[in-house]
Point group: C2
Chain length 491, copies 2
Amino acid sequence: MAKDQKPQRPDPRLPKGFRDLEAVEIRAGERMLATIRAVYESYGFEPLETPAFEYTDALGKFLPDTDRPNAGVFSMQDEDEQWMSLRYDLTAPLARYVAQNFDRLPKPYRRYQTGPVWRNEKPGPGRFRQFTQFDADTVGTDNVAADAEICMLAADTLEKLGLAGKYVVKVSHRRLLDGVLEVIGLGTSDAGDRRLTVLRAIDKLDRLGPTGVRALLGEGRKDESGDFTKGAGLSAQQIDVVMGFLAHPVPRQAGDPGAQLLENASFAAAAADLAEMRRLFDAAGYDDTRIRIDQTVVRGLEYYTGPVFEAELTFEVKNEDGDTVRFGSVGGGGRYDDLVARFTGQRVPATGFSIGVSRLQAALAHLDDGAARAAHGPVVVLVMDKGELPAYQRLTATLRAAGIRAEMYLGTSGMKAQMKYADRRGAPCVVIQGSDERARGEVQIKDLVEGSKLSEQITDAKSWREGRPAQFSVPEADIVAAVRSVLDRYR
Amino acid sequence: MAKDQKPQRPDPRLPKGFRDLEAVEIRAGERMLATIRAVYESYGFEPLETPAFEYTDALGKFLPDTDRPNAGVFSMQDEDEQWMSLRYDLTAPLARYVAQNFDRLPKPYRRYQTGPVWRNEKPGPGRFRQFTQFDADTVGTDNVAADAEICMLAADTLEKLGLAGKYVVKVSHRRLLDGVLEVIGLGTSDAGDRRLTVLRAIDKLDRLGPTGVRALLGEGRKDESGDFTKGAGLSAQQIDVVMGFLAHPVPRQAGDPGAQLLENASFAAAAADLAEMRRLFDAAGYDDTRIRIDQTVVRGLEYYTGPVFEAELTFEVKNEDGDTVRFGSVGGGGRYDDLVARFTGQRVPATGFSIGVSRLQAALAHLDDGAARAAHGPVVVLVMDKGELPAYQRLTATLRAAGIRAEMYLGTSGMKAQMKYADRRGAPCVVIQGSDERARGEVQIKDLVEGSKLSEQITDAKSWREGRPAQFSVPEADIVAAVRSVLDRYR
């Protein structure tokens, strides 16, 4: 059994769908989250943090994404055999928290929360099993002004992140769709599957255009690859109602195109909500280019009960296949009136919005032309003489005390390895004190950025050296000013 | 089966050992983490984030806390039946990360990481199953200057958090203890249990004093309740060696008390490391009151291989039993030279320090005399007339645009409920615009803090009202200045 006695070394790897984040991404993420947090705070939302685990029965299985209804959760049994799950979003824990603390919370209760969520599903490109959300919710009011405010919050957040002119917050209403379905005779729940087929067809308007949607509402559609998708089997007349609904702005009064839909109570109530929201948007200066009523938005059908929102970035990027596409959704939300009722039986209306943090960060990174990369590493104090560690440590401490990010080289290798280390760390400069410099009470500052420019531009080396010396000596007492003069070159 | 048909409502509660964090605690925590992060950045450490899950074989079972050797981890099987676990600390994921990315990392590699860790163990008062750590590690050098720097980092961090004069970083060395054990003949691993008993006895010096430790090194000790703890069974001569070691500073040269221990190679190497660290501390201005060599520190015996550190807060608090005790440890660490070797077979020395975030935050909260509580909520704009929502929304947006945290009341209740809401939110003032004010183009500002003082101090109401009116009207255009004048009262 010699084979078994050989120590088995584990392979250093992560489970699929998980990833490490490194400095550049972490710092960009922190800046972004700080901006979002500042906007949410200015709106009066309060922070909340819930733990990663909830009891599975308290969490429910109420995933908002209709296209992933079977998305799994990570679950395990506690020592008393009760099932616990890792949160799959931040809304279900909010529902538990509000139900648990209902009496002592102000109403409406307004909170924001950010943190990782986990989904035990098949990972793919850009789809991870741990990702970060940033949510804001207003709980305990059915005032449509709360929905309107969430949309303004989303718009303000995107503006503060530098996305002015590059986004739109689209607003629709679940009951508009209910109304349309009722009008075409699919209002009852026994029409379940066909209802879903109709809604999925509507959801594809952006991608397939009216002709494609019409086919999916009718007999079905054959795509370019020849695959056939069975349609909802609606009659021509039913299809005309749906397509008419999609083609014109949501009617507000008799005479508007499609105004007969207003005879349906659900539709009329939704149209009134949207008209009130539009009035609030206009009064607050959010025009159609920032927040737009758009009835083609279909979101979380089993989940939302009133207005629904989708924040889209409108600039174009190449997708994985090399096609040019709109960047698309970075967040969404809506009104959900039945979530707390699971616990208390009491109807507590709520409305909220969730940002997909990684996706939004990817958008900002896409627009950022190198600012993140320009951030440099610490100043590195080289160790020329191991007997003089305290002296190098003191130089380092002097720089830090002056607010300069600095470190003494802590390895045990020689000069060449130390220079390579400083280079890998992205150090703007190194501080060198050999025995000669020490005898004269001086330090040498070597500018690594200039230095690498010099080696790239040999022909012009003389003028560079004259203008900005890449290496120079100063009295030890002037180390802070000298290092600052180098840092100032790269701001 | 009528009973089964009744909908089962889940109880809104958290699994034991988990908790929610609310606004005051979250904000204090963020301030603290920002301070720690700034110090770590100034030292040149880079941030890293690893995910919650690791493969169980990659994580190992290497808990550093000797008093909880059987502490469990949360584990579950992935879809391909490989076991995954939630990280129980931030060091094991670091080891996996370094092993995985070894070739491209600068050496030494210096990173900090903060985030939750999970332990599947019995929760108790102040002991949670999810808690936050903040770690810094220097990987890839056996230079004792790296250990010294970690201690300075800990000291600087505590100073920046306002704990100057209230902490000490204690430093010892694993091989000092190895040397003492070798000298008394317990140097071989077959003395395992007795070695542990000796080390546990040393660890109790603070609590039991020399007499108690002496008993535990010998036959055993009966405590106040009459319970007997079996001792290590050392001879009087062996006990004298151990007690002599504890009684005097670590010897550096012949002539120091206990200098015969220097004849042991392990002990001598450790004493030399500590002497070098002391030299670095002194040169950098960290005297004995901030960083102290203290050979009574016993930490992570199965884990650390060189210097060990413990950051203690020295002020006194009442414990759960009402006794006055030192606040005690808020973090610790040391050198561990064999962790990456699990993956690669290659010895990669490392040294690090971990802060227990909740415990440190509890210390800061204990010292903070109310600053956190004084933070106030948003200004609340009351809704006196639902038809005028856009006007109230505009007033709110005006305040926010001026950098004032503000919200419009989003519920649907009347004036009295709105005032109660503003009170619960901790609003410094409310903005009121009824039809009279609107007709005059004015708003009323009602100072809630003054208001509640007024109601408490009826006798002195006149003078308060004259000095600082609790309610006053201003032209709508002056709303920002008027609200600021109220906020300025409570800075």
